[in-house]
């Protein structure tokens, strides 16, 4: 189950952060997302030498914590997407798929002429579509 998704801007500022847990661990998830930026920074600054990762937006598993796994995605405009899940066995394909859909939802949201780039995303439509994507992620892994 995905417990948290976040969009992080250029200055590593949160643009959108939504947690999907019943429990009261929003602050903990904030910390996890914030700390995962360190890993993204490191990945971006020291890219692996292997070729195919050159234009890869999907950063893969950032780091597994005790209870969560954190995945990252870097758009071509250097906006970071971070996803925190409690599933211990996740297929890369599912995560890639999730991020692809999340990215297109993000692109729709920022294409809104009333959205100011660099500001937080407050669109309800975006929140709804994110919720739908997160739900479908859970079901697709169950299948």
């Amino acid at each position: 189950m995905i417990v948290c998704v976040a969009v992080v801007g250029h200055q590593n500022n949160p643009l959108y952060l939504q947690s999907f847990t019943e429990a009261d661990d929003a602050l903990k998830l904030h910390h996890i997302v914030h700390c995962s930026l360190d890993v993204i920074d490191e990945r971006v600054n020291n890219p692996k030498k292997t070729g195919p990762t050159l234009n890869e937006t999907f950063l893969g598993l950032l780091y597994p914590t005790e209870n969560y796994k954190v995945y990252g995605y870097l758009t071509n405009t250097k906006v970071k997407f971070i996803m925190v899940t409690t599933d211990l066995d996740v297929r890369d394909v599912d995560v890639r798929n999730f991020f692809r859909r999340f990215h297109s939802a993000y692109v729709d949201a920022v294409s809104n002429p009333f959205h100011v780039p660099g500001k937080k995303i407050t669109s309800n439509t975006f929140a709804q579509s994110v919720r739908a994507i997160v739900k479908s992620f859970g079901s697709s892994t169950a299948v």
Binding site: N13, P14, S19, D38, G118
Partner: protein, 1183 residues
């Protein structure tokens, strides 16, 4: 890891014992220790000590279930007490000596054999000799071997005298020891393995124990693979025991299992990590933690479980850290996915160790509070007495009670209740907070070194939280302060809110009112996180002391802060000082907000002048805008605006505050306004007029807000044009408005204004009388007339600037720069004051060619002063004359300099254009060869004939716009020429109106032939004609140098002889004389063209030869046919030698024909009659 015993932490090392000949023990043990693999030595000086190896009563296999899984001291025993091999050292003398000694040897051997027989310990007999070549009696040796029941190869001879022999002996010894100990451990291991394989055990405990033993024996002989296999086997068997074992009460059973599991796990991890299998080790670790994490046991002993979990993490982190040097980037090919660097970071395990230690603390606190509340004081009393006798029992992970019974100590098992009491008592002694902080510190250091700022900040925050819980508020505050910057910069509002909440509480606890207010205001001014609705319940320790971020919470915090400031709330219930600070004790608090302060969100001050430049004393508009993001409106009582010019400072008060107005009324200007309330995210704009006092920069520095009686916010004023966005708010999607009504002013407005100089009250006049003339000293009178200001320490600056900007030297002139070549020059400044002697020296400070600086004496109001600038033009040029006067209007120190600037364009003109030209005498010409050939050199030089008269005409024309008076003219001839004025030169005092010219004629006879000969210089004296004034204009001399000429001897001279005039019908003779001046015969051809006005007699064409130095003459008779100026027939002569043709000019070949003989009369000189006829008088009068 330090908690573990030494024998667990280090890999086991084989142990051998040496008995007898104690002098050698040191040498042997040192040599064995450096062997590879090393061997430890148990040195027993004599045979009486061998009893320590004595086997105790072994448990029989079929006895009742064992009391525990593993004995605590089993490993230590095998590492330090029970050797694999015993070496009996005998002196050779004793063996081969007298029978009594031999008997002793035999006894010792027997005893030793009796001791080691039960344990299957190997025996080696060493015969110590002092030298090699000692006769050994074979019989004795065989007897000894028989007695010892050993192989021949285990009877060694040890030679100690010779160093090389000693070394050989030691090597031999070591080889035998290694071989025998290996065999010993293999046999021991196999023995136990057989038991496992044959399943000769009646309890799972024994199975675990056997596995452990087999693994240890394998480790003794460095068989890591087998060791690992059996450790894992034992571990797995142990895991199965959790649900099945019933031997002990449940709590203690779990404790024992976990203690054993910990040991086995440690061994497995160590072996894996040392083998470089990092990813296996990590996955093994997670499996270990995963399988035991849920076994918390009963709630009152949960703290023991968490302590155990924490220890697992800590130990594994330490293992990772110590082995990290060897495991750099070794990703095992066996693992499916490569590990990220973050998974092998020990920092993460330290962090988790701290987390579980905190969990333990939490549980322990709960347990303690429960036990206290249930009031089992009597029980604990009784328990405590018995607790003192609780000691670790012989089995790993078990505790028991020592009871004294009949002078013997009996171990008695504990009940679970007793054990819990014991564990709680132990737990109380333990300082978790500092342990947790130490773990986090370690994690923080590791993360910081790895450059992971955010995780390090997280650890730092956790540390601070722990300090906070422990009550060390100043340390907590210091750490929290360190991480706020990162969260502020990256705009993580929720995280910042949490930290600020802690900081606010810390400052409250520390009694720091100022900090408390600062943090409160910053918190209240943070944006509200939009989806904070997720946080519903108030979870202790999760959100920090400030609770979740919400609008209500922010409002509450703001209300608290302002309530405290106004004295309504008493917040400082400080345990440390034990005194509640009531409102009277509140110190006046003054906050400063600068350009980087996080409090800018609470109060942002922007000031803008509407203009950029203003005159002093002229009012200008000034807008002060205030913005606050605080959730509740803020009432400001008084605003104080401060400028760099204190005279402009003013205060803004609310209307209903007359008292404060009275207080501050003084030098300050006070404005009143009905309402000074700041509403959230809405600019409060106030516009006032400001009158600048002094010239220069007027800058608004600070704006001080006074709220209540003892709260001030001193805020740096910011220009709207260069205002930074609020650090946290800039990512928020909020309504943004401009600080000023006029949007353009928001983009361009500045917090400073340039104040110009005051208008000067002094006139600076420049007079000039028309254009200047080149050569004269042109005078420009400058006068300073004070009208309203006295002139103190005045300074006059004069500057001459070429109007075309090319400087005063034309770049087109090729002449090198020199002071003489300056075209316009400031000569001097003459001060026309009466008391010139007084001002004499200091007045003129500095006069340069184009620049002058002089001081002006003190002038009172209505006084005037003047001076004259003398400027000389060397070339005609237009220049700008800039004169500026700087002065102080008063003598006071604060007086500011006032400047007056004047400029004037002056054109310098050439007064007289002097020109010249040479001519030959009338109707005479000379053949000058250089004229025939086109000049090769570029400069056109006039050529004159040697020794012949040339006519020089000099003309001067007034090219200026003023009348000039010529005074005299002279020509200074050079030596090579003779110059005579032709006719009388009477140019004295001739007036030349503009455009008029004057001519002089000279005859010039060159005296020598040369390509360049100077003729002379004309000096012309003139002056301006000043008809009106009586004063005499200065006389100026203009010089004109006649260019050099070329003088050459002409080969031929031609002159036309003809009467000056003729009469109609009267014949006359026209002669053409050709003079040959060369020593050569010259052939001259000639031709005559008819003229219609004359009848001509003579040859039309022909040629003549002229002898050297002689003259040829061509004569024609002509009769004029028409009256008036008539053209004579044109004669052309051609010199064939020089190929030169000469034709007289048209002017020279014309003659006037009178109708009849004329008469001339001249004034005062009598009548002159032309010699030709005397009957033409009437005709003359007619003409």
């Amino acid at each position: 890891m330090e908690d573990y015993a030494e024998e667990i932490r280090t890999p086991p090392v084989a142990l051998v014992a040496v008995v007898g000949v104690p002098a050698l023990h040191q040498t042997i043990s040192a040599a064995l220790h450096v062997e590879q693999p090393p061997i430890n030595t148990l040195a027993l000086p004599d045979f009486s000590r061998i009893s320590i190896m004595t086997s105790k009563q072994k448990e029989t296999l079929d006895s009742s279930p064992p009391g525990g899984i593993m004995k605590r001291d089993w490993l230590a025993k095998h590492r330090t007490k029970i050797p694999a091999v015993v070496a009996a050292l005998f002196n050779y003398d004793h063996v081969c000596g007298d029978p009594a000694q031999w008997l002793q040897v035999c006894t010792d051997l027997e005893n030793l054999k009796a001791v080691i027989r039960g344990r299957n310990i190997k025996l080696v007999v060493v015969l110590v000799q002092s030298t090699v070549n000692v006769d050994t009696s074979e019989d004795r040796l065989i007897a000894l071997r028989k007695r010892a029941e050993i192989d021949a190869k285990y009877l060694l001879v040890f030679v100690q005298s010779d160093p090389s022999e000693l070394k050989l002996s030691l090597n031999r010894l070591a080889t035998v020891f290694a071989e025998l100990s290996h065999a010993y451990y293999r046999e021991e291991g196999r023995k136990i393995r057989t038991r496992i394989e044959k399943k000769i055990f009646n309890s799972i405990e024994l199975y675990v124990r056997y596995c452990f033993k087999v693994a240890v024996y394998a480790e003794f002989r460095r068989d890591w693979a087998e060791a690992l296999k059996f450790y894992e086997e034992g571990y797995n068997a142990l895991r199965e025991m959790v649900g099945t074992s019933t031997r002990l009460p449940p709590t203690q059973r779990l404790v024992e299992i976990k203690a054993v599991a910990e040991q086995l796990h440690f061994k497995v991890s160590t072996l894996l990590l040392h083998g470089g299998k990092v990813s296996e080790a990590i996955s093994w670790f997670w499996k270990h933690v995963g399988s035991y994490k849920k076994l918390t046991g009963l709630s009152n002993v949960a703290f023991l479980h968490w302590e155990w979990v924490s220890r697992q993490f800590l130990v594994f982190a330490e293992l990772l850290e110590t082995s990290s040097t060897t495991i750099q980037s070794t990703t095992s090919p066996l693992s499916k996915k490569p590990l990220t660097e973050w998974e092998v970071q020990p920092a993460y395990f330290y962090q988790l160790a701290a987390k579980y230690l905190r969990e333990k603390k939490h549980c322990l606190d709960q347990t303690l509070s429960l036990s206290e509340s249930s009031g089992e004081s009597g029980g604990t009393k009784a328990g405590e007495s018995s607790l003192e006798s609780v000691v670790p029992s012989v089995y790993v992970g078990q505790f028991s009670c020592i009871l004294e019974q009949e002078e013997a100590f009996i171990m008695q098992p504990l009940t679970d209740e007793e054990y819990v009491l014991y564990a709680i008592a132990e737990g109380k002694r333990f300082q978790e907070s500092y342990e947790i902080i130490a773990l986090l510190k370690k994690s923080f250091d590791l993360y910081s070194n790895a450059g992971a700022l955010r995780v390090a900040s997280y650890c730092s925050g956790q540390m601070a939280r722990e300090y906070y819980v422990a009550g060390d508020f100043s340390k907590a505050k210091h750490l929290f302060d360190g991480i706020t910057d990162l969260y502020r910069k990256e705009g993580w509002v929720t995280l910042l809110w949490e930290v600020l909440g802690y900081l606010r509480e810390c400052s409250r606890k520390l009694g720091s009112q100022r900090d408390f207010i600062e943090y409160s205001l910053e918190m209240a001014a943070l944006p509200t996180v939009s989806n904070s609705g997720m946080i519903t319940t108030d979870h202790k320790g999760e959100c920090g002391p400030a609770g979740p971020t919400s609008q209500q919470q922010k409002e509450k915090i703001q209300r608290e802060a302002f309530g405290f400031l106004s004295g309504e709330l008493q917040l400082f219930l400080n345990e440390g000082t034990n005194s509640s600070i009531d409102s009277t004790e509140i110190q006046p608090i003054e906050l400063e907000i600068d350009l980087v302060s996080p409090l800018r969100a609470a109060l942002l001050v922007s000031v803008a002048f509407h203009d950029q430049v203003v005159k002093p004393g002229v009012p200008t508009l000034f807008t002060l805008s205030l913005l606050s993001q605080l959730p509740l409106p803020v009432e400001i009582d008084q605003l104080e605006v401060q400028f760099n010019q204190a005279i402009c400072n003013f205060t803004i008060c609310k209307l209903e505050h007359p008292s404060s107005v009275a207080d501050s009324s003084g030098p300050l200007q006070t404005e009143t306004i009905p309402n000074l309330t700041l509403v959230t995210n809405k600019w409060l704009r106030l516009t006032y007029t400001i009158i600048a006092g002094q010239s220069g920069k007027l800058e608004c520095l600070t704006v001080i807000c006074k709220i209540g009686t003892n709260f001030k916010i001193c805020s740096r004023a910011e220009s709207p044009a260069s205002m930074e966005e609020l650090p946290v708010w800039k990512f928020e999607d909020r309504v943004e408005s401009f600080p000023t009504k006029d949007a353009s002013l928001s983009f361009s407005g500045q917090r400073f204004i340039q104040v110009e100089e005051p208008d000067p009250q002094v006139d600076l006049l420049l007079d000039s009388s028309g254009p200047a003339l080149v050569g004269e000293d042109f005078v420009v009178p400058v006068s300073i007339i004070s009208k309203g200001n006295a002139v103190h320490s005045g300074e006059l600056k004069i500057n001459l600037v070429d109007i075309r900007g090319g400087g005063l030297v034309s770049p087109r002139d090729m002449e090198p720069f020199s002071p003489d070549s300056l075209h316009v020059e400031l000569l001097r400044v003459s001060v026309s004051n009466e008391n010139e002697s007084e001002t004499g020296l200091d007045s003129i400070k500095n006069i340069q060619q184009s620049f002058g600086l002089l001081s002006v004496p003190f002038l009172d109001i209505e006084e005037s002063w003047s001076c004259k600038l003398e400027i000389r033009w060397h070339r005609p040029k237009v220049v700008m004359l800039y004169v500026s006067l700087g002065y102080l209007p008063s003598n006071e120190a604060t007086a500011q300099k006032v400047h007056v600037h004047k400029s004037m364009q002056i054109e310098g003109k050439t007064p007289l254009l002097i020109s010249h030209h040479f001519m030959m005498p009338f109707r005479q010409d000379s053949l000058l060869l250089s004229k025939i050939k086109p000049a090769t050199d570029s400069e056109e030089r006039e050529t004159l004939a040697l020794d012949e008269i040339s006519i020089l005409a000099i003309s001067a024309r007034n090219s200026s716009e003023v009348p000039l008076r010529l005074i005299s003219m002279s020509l200074e001839a050079e030596e090579e020429v003779v110059v005579k004025p032709s006719g009388e030169v009477s140019a004295e005092l001739a007036m030349l109106v503009p455009g008029e010219g004057f001519k002089w004629v000279f005859s010039v006879i060159p005296q020598s032939a040369a390509p360049s000969i100077g003729v002379g210089t004309v000096s012309l004296k003139w002056s301006r004609d000043l008809p009106n004034s009586g004063e005499i204009a200065p006389r100026i001399t203009t010089k004109y140098k006649i260019p050099v000429v070329k003088v050459e001897r002409p080969p031929l001279m031609v002159s036309l002889e003809c009467p000056p005039h003729t009469v109609l019908g009267v014949p006359f003779t026209l002669c053409l004389k050709i003079q040959n001046q060369t020593p050569l015969l010259q052939e001259i051809s000639y031709s005559v063209m008819d003229a219609q006005s004359f009848v001509l007699s003579g040859p039309h064409n022909g040629s003549i030869d002229i002898l050297p130095k002689s003259e040829g003459i061509l004569c024609y008779k002509l009769v004029p046919l028409m009256c008036g100026q008539q053209q004579l027939p044109r004669v052309t002569v051609t010199s064939s030698r020089y190929a030169a043709r000469l034709q007289l000019s048209i002017a020279a070949s014309a003659v006037f024909v009178f109708p009849s003989q004329p008469y001339f009369e001249m004034d005062g000189k009598g009548i002159k009659r032309l010699p030709a006829t005397s009957d033409t008088q009437a005709t003359l009068s007619v003409t």
